[in-house]
């Protein structure tokens, strides 16, 4: 399956491509007491900004996966360039090649919404240790979305549905992630500076059109769709 919105992020090589950007990532991680012996999985790592930061700052054992070949290649390039020991693998989050209970912390920054949500949550819960945490930043409906708005979001972003907060929590509970905490974030969709970028030499003009459509979508629907940061434990 191809997803042109994700291609946009991959070809432009945009780091911190999630609501709140890298600043939100740093703010969230600051409150986690991550130890050097802990194993952390960054799923849908994109170009690897968060994974690199985790390895550099916390010295922990970082594994990063993504199923987009260009993302994986750019992440690998980054880790090599700055010499951080991150293991990076091209894998599908629906079906991970790790044994059960492998990780103390799993991070998904704007990833799960692009997948089959219940399958992905099951898989992430499987690889999470019994006392581990899953932190996820995900698109969330703020108000009731009309059928038209749902359709538009789904076709533009290649997703199946936009869940609201209660629906996310329900999905998490059904997966056995029973302790769910919502981390406070600013309500507006604040733009982040795009200062971590690694564009491909050839960028198809269609992707600029997608970017325009995305901006247009935010302009008209930004009051209806926002995001949440969930911290979950079993």
């Amino acid at each position: 399956m191809t997803n042109t919105y994700l291609d946009l992020l991959a070809y432009f090589g945009i780091g911190g491509a999630h609501p709140g950007g890298f600043n939100l990532t740093k703010a969230i991680l600051e409150n986690e007491n991550i130890q050097p012996n802990e194993s952390v999985l960054d799923v849908g790592c994109g170009t690897g900004q968060t994974a690199a930061f985790l390895a550099e700052k916390y010295n922990c054992q970082v594994t990063a996966i993504d199923n987009h070949p260009i993302m994986v290649q750019k992440a690998r390039q980054r880790f090599k360039k700055i010499k951080v020991p991150v293991m990076v693998l091209e894998e599908d989050v629906h079906n991970l090649d790790f044994v059960d209970s492998s990780f103390d912390l799993v991070i998904a920054e704007s990833v799960i919404v692009f997948t089959d949500i219940s399958r992905t949550l099951k898989e992430l819960s499987r690889v999470l240790k019994s006392d581990g945490s899953l932190i996820m930043i995900e698109m969330t409906a703020e108000h009731y979305l009309s059928e038209e708005q749902q359709k538009l979001a789904c076709s533009l972003y290649g997703i199946k549905e936009v869940l609201n907060t209660e629906e996310w929590i329900l999905q998490l509970h059904q997966t056995g992630l029973t302790q769910v905490e919502i981390i406070n974030t600013p309500p507006e969709l604040i733009k982040s500076e795009i200062n971590d970028i690694n564009p491909s030499i050839q960028i198809n003009m269609d992707l600029f059109d997608i970017w325009d459509k995305h901006n247009e979508f935010l302009l008209h629907n930004g009051d209806f769709i926002s995001y949440r940061v969930f911290k979950c434990r079993k």
Binding site: Y5, S110, M139, S192, E193, P199, N215, Y227
Partner: protein
């Protein structure tokens, strides 16, 4: 990006704040003020604080900022954005 795509892209971003990466690795951030087939002009961010409104002394009298040859440009994108 080839020259004509780049030109079209600069036109499209006219008036917006962009980040331009040059082949030599230099990065310029600012608002596009003018575009032609060979050059794009940007008014860099740092100007806003430093010189006072309306005066862009460091970058010529035109107020267009400074020009970058399209041939020197490796990539161009909006300088800030919101992404899911």
């Amino acid at each position: 990006m080839n020259r004509s795509d780049l030109y079209n892209q600069c036109c499209r971003f006219n008036g917006q704040r962009v980040r331009i990466t040059c082949h030599d690795g230099r990065v310029h951030v600012g608002e596009i003020t003018r575009v032609n087939r060979n050059m794009v002009w940007i008014r860099p961010d740092e100007n806003l604080g430093g010189y006072g409104l309306g005066f862009f002394g460091g970058y010529g009298e035109s107020g267009f900022g400074f020009g970058i040859a399209l041939g020197a440009i490796a990539g161009i994108a909006l300088a800030s954005a919101f992404f899911w």
